[in-house]
């Protein structure tokens, strides 16, 4: 990495870490729902902007490491989950942006990954915590809810939950693209 590239990685990695530490703390304190998705989207936007101005391989992974370290510093109690979450997001986006480059397609694929990833992480964590029966039990509940209220209500609620994640992810990617375009103009 060149000195400039190291500087970009340090600055934007620190920004991501500060965003996770401050915004994350506020959201957890207020027990706001979907905080994981919001934080993943904010992280993705920062990564995409940084990769746009500094298209250096490995920089995204390094940014994730810096951000995860700052997050651990700030968090008093639960540490492993946020650390692993940030690192995984960094690894996934590093792969995407290395394969697709930070062009529009790369941005959109990143948005899709960030839509799916929090869902997968939630399912994985809940399965580890509550056992392999967790997913079947939730699906049974959705079916039971639909049978009770009709109109496939349970599935609609699940569908809405999944859709919100996609809105965050794709919306975040489009927003990052718009900001990147504006930065290039100014």
């Amino acid at each position: 990495m060149t000195k400039t590239s190291i500087a970009y990685t340090a600055v934007f990695g620190t920004l991501w870490g500060l965003a996770e530490a401050t915004l994350g703390s506020v959201m957890h304190m207020l027990n706001l729902p979907l905080s994981g998705s919001v934080l993943s989207t904010v992280g993705m936007i920062i990564i995409l902007i940084a990769r746009g101005v500094n298209p250096q391989r490995g920089s995204t992974l390094m940014m994730a490491l810096i951000a995860a370290l700052i997050k651990i510093m700030s968090f008093a109690t639960v540490k492993l989950g946020p650390f692993v979450g940030i690192m995984l997001e960094g690894i996934l986006l590093e792969i995407i942006l290395t394969v697709f480059s930070p062009n529009f397609l790369g941005y959109m694929f990143s948005g899709i990954i960030v839509s799916i990833y929090p869902l997968l992480q939630t399912l994985a964590v809940k399965t580890i915590l509550f056992g392999t029966d967790f997913i079947p039990v939730i699906l049974e509940m959705a079916q039971g809810f639909s049978d009770r209220f009709g109109f496939g209500a349970g599935w609609w609620i699940l569908g809405l939950y999944v859709s919100i994640h996609f809105i965050f992810g794709i919306g975040g990617a489009l927003f990052a693209w718009t900001v990147k375009t504006q930065l290039a103009k100014r």
Binding site: M1, T2, K3, T4, S5, I6, A7, Y8, T9, A10, V11, F12, G13, T14, L15, G17, L18, H28, N31, P33, I49, V53, N54, G58, M62, L65, I66, A68, L69, I70, I72, M73, A76, T77, V78, K79, L80, F83, K126, I128, L129, F130, G131, D133, F134, V137, I138, E140, M141, Q143, G144, F145, R148, G154, V179, Q182, L183, R186
Partner: protein
């Protein structure tokens, strides 16, 4: 960590005990979960604190309340609500397992901190990790100050008009500042962190005026561009900025002149020329228009009430007792804001004595030099 220390580690024994207890959970879910809870609390009280978090109990609530009500064969009733006893047993066990596994992970990671992880990654020899990590620590205060300044600007703009575009502009400007910061950090000749116009304004807030700031650097270092950005940033904070700036105008390939511009009115006059002039005022290859210098002095005098007063630039004319010096002498006892000069690098050495001799009041103000 050798085998002996592993066996002697209390944490390892507690983890082992909890692990075995989780496997035996079916025998007595309530009792074993209570045992794990007490064991965790005794090991480290911080391990049980996260159990207060509501999102954790939302999932347990869904499992224990919603799942038995909406799935399985409804064979029992409680307060007229039918539920499945089979599903309830299943989900209760899942809930106790969730609490136990959560506490297990808490025991494993409660002492996880950035120092141990940093040491681990340094040991692993991640390429460039040390450089990036060290630079990240150095940039943290600058980032905070940039964030703080931009948030203040957003609040001001939001108060003026409640438009979403303000938020977008805030984000774009913030990112532009960070790009500038990264660029300045990455420049080999910088030798450290350059101060951006925004950082400068933040720092000046902590200084009681009147104060003097001198922007200096070699020709072509970017003083004019820095000043231009500073003026915009000051205006964004709704502060009053005035004075005179000089702009280089290229006439031909090897011919140029400077225009003197009043910041507030944007009125402009040609300050000098490379062509021969019947004028007593010459510095190097430039011939200065005396009436424009006098006009410049008037503009500086009129700017005495500004919060930020810029004089671009101070040079040999002022050192010789002419140029903008008469105007500065007039205002130095009256001016109560932040005075900003630009000065060529090669004129730094005599600057202190110039101030003490010619502008003694300004010489006593808080002073900062910014090297570009």
């Amino acid at each position: 960590m050798n085998l002996k220390s592993i066996f002697l580690s209390l944490r390892i024994w507690v983890i082992l005990l909890i692990f075995i207890s989780i496997f035996l959970l079916k025998m007595s879910p309530v009792g074993i979960t209570a045992f794990i809870f007490i064991l965790s609390w005794l090991f480290n009280r911080n391990t049980v604190r996260p159990l207060k978090r509501i999102p954790f109990w939302v999932t347990i609530g869904i499992l224990v309340i919603a799942v038995p009500i909406f799935s399985g064969i409804q064979d029992k009733t409680f307060l007229t609500i039918t539920y499945s006893s089979v599903q309830l047993s299943k989900t209760m066990l899942m809930a106790f397992r969730g609490i136990s596994v959560f506490l297990l992970f808490q025991i494993m990671t409660v002492d996880l901190n950035s120092e141990t992880v940093t040491a681990l990654f340094k040991k692993l020899g991640f390429r460039n990790f040390n450089s990036v990590y060290d630079l990240s620590n150095k940039t943290m205060p600058h980032l905070r100050s940039i964030l703080s300044a931009r948030v203040t600007g957003l609040r001001v703009n939001w108060k003026a008009n409640h438009q979403v575009i303000n938020v977008f502009d805030f984000i774009v400007l913030l990112l532009r500042d960070l790009i500038q910061l990264a660029e300045s950090l990455g420049t080999p000749a910088s030798g450290g962190i350059k101060i951006t116009p925004l950082n400068f304004i933040q720092l000046r807030k902590n200084i009681t005026p009147p104060s003097l700031t001198v922007i200096t650097g070699e020709s072509g270092a970017g003083k004019s561009q820095w000043l231009s950005q500073l003026i915009n940033e000051i205006k964004n904070t709704n502060k009053n900025v005035d004075g005179v700036i000089s702009e280089k105008i290229i006439d031909q390939d090897d011919q140029w002149h400077h225009s003197l511009i009043r910041i507030v009115t944007k009125e402009s006059r040609q300050l000098n020329t490379m062509n021969d002039l019947e004028t007593p005022i010459q510095v190097g290859k430039f011939f200065f228009y005396p009436e424009v210098i006098e006009w410049g002095c008037d503009q500086i005098t009129e700017s005495v009430n500004a919060e930020y007063l810029i004089v671009d630039e101070i040079g040999l004319l002022e050192y010789d007792g002419a140029g903008f010096l008469p105007a500065l002498k007039k205002i130095e006892s009256e001016f109560q804001g932040h005075l900003i000069f630009t000065l060529r690098n090669r004129l730094i050495n005599p600057f202190d004595s110039f101030l003490e001799d010619r502008l003694p009041i300004i010489a006593g103000w808080d002073r900062k030099m910014i090297y570009l």
